[in-house]
Amino acid sequence: MAGVEFATDYKYMCSDPGQNLIKQAIKEHHLDGVVVGSCSPRMHEMTFRKVCSEAGMNPYLCEIANLREQCSWVHEKCDATTNKAIEIVRGLVEKVKRNKPLQAIEVPISKKALVIGGGIAGIQASLDIANCGHQVILVEQSPSIGGHMSQLSETFPTLDCSQCILTPRMVEVAQHPNITLYTYAELEKLEGFIGNFKATIRLKDKSVDFSKCTGCGLCMTKCPQKKIPSEFNEGLGTRTAIYTPSPQAVPNKPVIDRENCNYYKKGVCKICQKFCPTGAIEYDKADKFITEEIGAVVVTTGFNVLKTDFFSEYGYGKYKDVITGLQFERLASASGPTLGEIRRPSDGQIPKKIVFIACCGSRDPAKGLAYCSKICCMYTAKHAMLYQHKVPDGESTVFYMDIRAGGKNYEEFVRRAIEEEQVNYVRGRVARVYEKNGKLIVKGADTLLNAKPVEIEADMVVLATASIANNGAEDLAQKMHISYDPYHFFAEAHPKLRPVETNTAGIFLAGACQAPKDIPETVAAASGAAVKVVSLLSKPTLVREPLIAVVNRCAPPQYSTCVGCFMCQTICPYQAIEREDITDRRTGQVIKTIAKINPGLCQGCGTCVSFCRSKSIDIQGYSNEEMYAEVSALLNK
């Protein structure tokens, strides 16, 4: 290929010896351009550009030919594939010939982090960041932080009480000087880019002035609306219209749920206001919006579980005593509606026979969920165990597909359930659950005893329903411009090497909003994300890739070929295009006004470049000349 001074190959170019090969070549042959034919640039572009700059070459004179992900891995081994590889390299050789040396751009950083979601992930991330001395804004959509973990009874594999370990953390968050907590709030808008985001947060009106409220709880005892199913108790208990989700809520001050409040529904009531000793109740206040300058975002919005009504074969949730795992947690929880006693939702009787069904929805492409929810095997074992402790004469059966107990002390935990607690494990799928004279009949097949049909009579059935993405996850992703998978779980930048980063620089992930995760994993990810944030916020300034648009300049009397129609201003998604007056040095009189791109704001999408009629805007790193050369070279023989 014309202009290629030196070519070599090596099995692992990204390894140390490989990197040294490149460095040597640059030095020996005085190269002013390097093309690495290897894996995707999304993988190692950074690595190789760093190598080049270490060898004294401008890093932006290095291009990566994607010969693995987009050639050798997707095509059969044949001449055509080899030819394609050659073409790809030829294209980038021609491009790199035209690449210009570029200097990275430095921009200031807003030293404040935004954490979205106050579950254990959000709590952990907030505390870690805050303890490093950085400001954190924690936004929680419900009236209290704590998330799903605060609903759990005991946690596997140690069986320590969930709230006992969580509550102190919740309190710590509330009291931490570096953490600003906004409960009953949502992210409205996220603008800007890494280091310099601008977040608009909607503070839903609580109808309660927290500065006056003492959290005495009198209002809740007086509220006439008492039959509202409690979200916290997964509908197994009730709450009032003015409420805190749970007694351990943080902040432990109530909000009015407008959907169910008599005043907001009918316009009359105001009982809570009458009784409130501090006059904290204020109706009809509008939501407030605040904007915050922040440098990084951690998304920890968590997950949800399928409700029983999803399952036709198990009665669409019409059987009161067919419940979800999360509901069982509430029954088993000392702070739950039954104060920790396992009682049937239908009649409050203690079930003598109980059946647990694993993989409800999960690993079932027919139901649209091909993935494994990961936590069910463990919590089902835990549920069975808790039941046996609480109802020693009870009989518990678990239907499972296979048991996935990968994790420290997990396998031992399941064994204990089976061997010491006499939980009856049946390997097989449950075809149907139906009611027959007051009993639930669970019909399944035991696949170990070559699919021998089994029929078990049960007082209560617990479905380990699949973990799913929160509804609204898609909207949130679009607000923040991060990508998500077909199940609307948020996508990480790289499945292995960048698990807590998103494709959008400065936005990080932790916990079950990314994929089903158990508590240890979630906490680990949260701390990981926190470190990413801290390392970002600890930098004096942020060094950004100079792949941005520029307006050309040329000799007088033109000064620039830009004619200043400024139609590019309406195109730019970042308002990065400003007006610049070119003035006569002597008279100071304006000669012409042209477009000017603010390098701090430009994100390098290049939409203005292909829109500009006179080709007066070009984008560094993807310039017209470079792209033209690459396309031509792919086809030129």
Binding site: A2, C554, A555, P556, P557, Q558, S632, A633, N636, K637
Partner: protein
């Protein structure tokens, strides 16, 4: 020189003979309401009853786009290749007008003024011009003011003049012309001297003389008339591209990877970019300067330096101009303007 007579109905027979023998015959064909030169395959294609064609026929010798040479890079060394001889074929330009024929004289001079332009010469020497005397003209025609005329025989190889409904006078001036006659000797007979050619020619009043223009413009470089006349000029290249004498060209590259061609294509002094320096400086900063250049080049510099005239009075520029920059009108006003 020989004077012959041909019956009008035989003219097509003669032309078909020519078309049969000559690889490239160019003649005016019908083009919308107008006429335009094109390759013809049948005598009947020719459009006789028309005004001057939109474009001149200069492209027969000076194509709008032509290859100068080709090159191929092979490692360190580059090879150059010439345009093949087969591209230069015998050509007859049929039903040229006197103004078309005359135009090749200044063109040839320009392409040989210092450097001998091989490509132009090779094309030109293969051309035989069969001119038809004009029996009608429109208000844009002013050949009589530029030293030509509806019956001018200058630079033609043969000239046909339709005398009446039956016959036409055929004057043969050159060997090339004679060869065309020889293709169909039987169609011709000797013409007697009595035939009055001038009687049938179009009447084109003379508006000014070359000398008048020359006198008036030689000291008019700073005159305000250029701005006044060019105010409405849009600065396109239409006038230059249809002009039979304009020879300005640009050199371009057509390269594909390691091989390519060097191209010559038409250019126009009317374009702002034509004189734009890389530094940004433009010696002809406005349309007035460019219009002045056009006029001075044709009517002052060419006569003074090459002893040729840059205008044949065909009037094509005026017909082509989107804003009716009527050159006769402008030249007349120059001729009548006081010396500045």
């Amino acid at each position: 020189m020989e004077k012959l007579i041909i019956k009008l109905q035989d003219i097509n027979t003669w032309l078909d003979q020519i078309i049969e023998k000559v690889p490239r015959v160019i003649a005016p064909i019908k083009y919308g309401q107008k006429a335009e030169f094109a390759l013809i395959k049948n005598a009947t294609d020719v459009h006789y009853d028309s005004q001057t064609t939109i474009s001149s026929v200069k492209s027969a010798a000076f194509p709008s786009t032509e290859t100068l040479f080709a090159y191929a890079k092979n490692g360190p060394d580059t090879k150059l290749y010439n345009v093949a001889e087969e591209n230069f074929v015998n050509t007859v330009i049929w039903r040229a007008r006197p103004c078309d024929a005359i135009a090749f004289k200044p063109m040839t001079k320009i392409f040989n003024s210092d450097y001998q332009d091989e490509l132009y010469n090779k094309r030109y020497e293969k051309i035989t011009l069969v001119t038809f005397a004009c029996n009608k003209a429109d208000e844009f025609c002013f050949c009589t003011s530029t030293g030509g005329g509806p019956g001018s025989i200058e630079n033609s190889d043969a000239m046909v003049t339709v005398i009446d409904k039956e016959k036409a006078l055929v004057e043969v001036f050159t060997e090339k012309g004679q060869q065309l006659i020889d293709l169909a000797k039987e169609l011709f007979e000797k013409a007697d001297e009595s035939i009055d050619k001038d009687a049938v020619l179009a009447k084109i009043p003379q508006k000014f003389t070359k000398e008048q223009i020359h006198d008036h413009i030689q000291n008019a470089f700073k005159s305000s008339i250029w701005k006044a006349q060019s105010e409405r000029c849009l600065g396109c290249g239409a006038c230059a591209y249809v002009c039979p004498v304009c020879t300005c060209f640009d050199i371009q590259e057509d390269s594909h990877g390691n091989q390519g061609r060097r191209i010559r294509c038409w250019d126009s002094c009317g374009f702002q970019l034509y004189t734009q320096h890389t530094s940004g400086y433009n010696p002809r900063p406005n349309q007035a300067a460019r219009w002045r250049q056009r006029i001075l080049h044709k009517f002052l510099y060419m006569p003074d330096r090459l002893n040729i005239y840059g205008c044949t009075g065909c009037g094509r520029c005026s017909r082509a101009c989107p804003v009716d920059m009527n050159i006769v009108e402008h030249l007349t006003s120059i001729a009548n303007s006081i010396h500045e």
